[in-house]
Symmetry: none
Subunit: 143 residues, 4 copies
């Protein structure tokens, strides 16, 4: 039978991931939104920092969804989605739900993607670094 042991992105863990990402963004001086989604790309936790742009709900959620949907860091989609790349056109596929710049990371349980995090509001580098801080918390829990 295909029963498997599986690590879940539950609400408690999603908050820990989100808190770590927000703390990282604060340390970087960035005002961001943070989204944590489950393995189906569905939102579990979202937070927008005071003063962060209203694009955050769309972009942070989109990055987290994209990271799950494509099983990759959204930072790694920048080059392939550039003109002439293998995935040029991806950002406008799927009704515009794919957000292909840095700040999204899948959350892995061994070879499975069981969730994702998306950060938006800072520079691409800041968003990516904050997402890494969130993913690190997940990895420690899943370990």
């Amino acid at each position: 039978v295909p029963r498997t042991t599986r690590f879940e992105v539950d609400l408690r863990l999603a908050h820990a991931v989100c808190d770590a990402a927000r703390a990282s963004a604060e340390a970087l001086g960035a005002l961001v939104s943070v989204a944590v989604v489950d393995g189906g790309g569905h939102l579990v936790v979202f937070e927008r920092m005071d003063g962060a742009e209203i694009a955050g709900p769309t972009l942070a959620v989109g990055k987290a969804f994209t990271a799950v949907a494509h099983r990759t860091a959204t930072a790694d989609l920048v080059t392939p989605t550039a003109p002439g790349g293998d995935l040029a056109g991806l950002p406008s596929a799927a009704g515009g739900r794919y957000v292909c710049f840095p700040g999204g990371l899948p959350l892995w349980d061994r070879s499975r993607v069981v969730g994702g995090i998306g950060v938006s509001g800072g520079t691409g580098a800041q968003d990516h670094e904050a997402a890494l801080a969130g993913a690190a918390v997940f990895r420690r829990s899943a370990g």
Copy 2:
């Protein structure tokens, strides 16, 4: 840690569920489409019978997604989504992705919804019966 044992809708099982639903529809004399989705509502297997209407890809997938999203048989959404019901307006929410007539069933692993089946093309009663036949195969495997 939130690690859990979980029954999965893998490709092999999704085909078994789909085959059972299609066989049931054939026995009922209905030409249908059958969709099987995972716990995130994402498609795993789809089949449209020869001669079945082209609405099937939209409606069968929509019923399976709806059954997962609302953790209920879509047949049980007919009354609440009727005028004056608690969920009137649901069919036009979510960009029209919710399909609220009979033929969709969630697939349960104990208290979790781990997938869904949607059947479309026959009467509501036929679609529902064929979906039940598919879900029964899932239940025997999960048992």
Copy 3:
């Protein structure tokens, strides 16, 4: 000068509102998603309880948005959006973003709507009651 003192739905307060709604839902035995939005209808905080349906991210956010957009409890939109009502076509307007069943409430600062709360996952009555619990926390803070 046209400056006004305005009560804001900041992150800290949004969490307090969300926590109160979730605690109310737990007391009612409902598994829900809770969304808190600002005066522009943009998400500030979202939480989905473990085991709550994946329709929550769409519906809870939609109810909060609708409550702000129309400056009314979504429960009060059920009758006017029924067939023959003044707002019969509303649920399908705005690209399906309006969700017109109970569980959404605007958050008022005197005569201004400065935010909204949306709860989804329980019955209409449970969702509405949990939203009231969240709004009460807001009102005490704003008072």
Copy 4:
């Protein structure tokens, strides 16, 4: 009479095409989704391999649809849809339904397009090769 003998993508043949594409992807070590559509671009068969990304249902179906809609391999749309190309805005046309990277092929019966195949989940080259394997089965049957 304007009757023509027309080769159809029926369910049995669609499965054979899908099976060949999946076997090819497996041999290439890629985890993919495979979609087979009819001459109207409507889904006949879909399969997502265990562990394949959840973007597959959108992208594989989109590639198959695009190949039928434009009567061309989607790999041949990469250059014309690049900036300055004749079809530069195509990926964002049609509500984002066109997916213009490798992996989609039309299925020809002499001068008619009677179906399409779309593969997604591997690299562009892998998706294209797997689609070719599926189309070869179709061509042998149609021959």
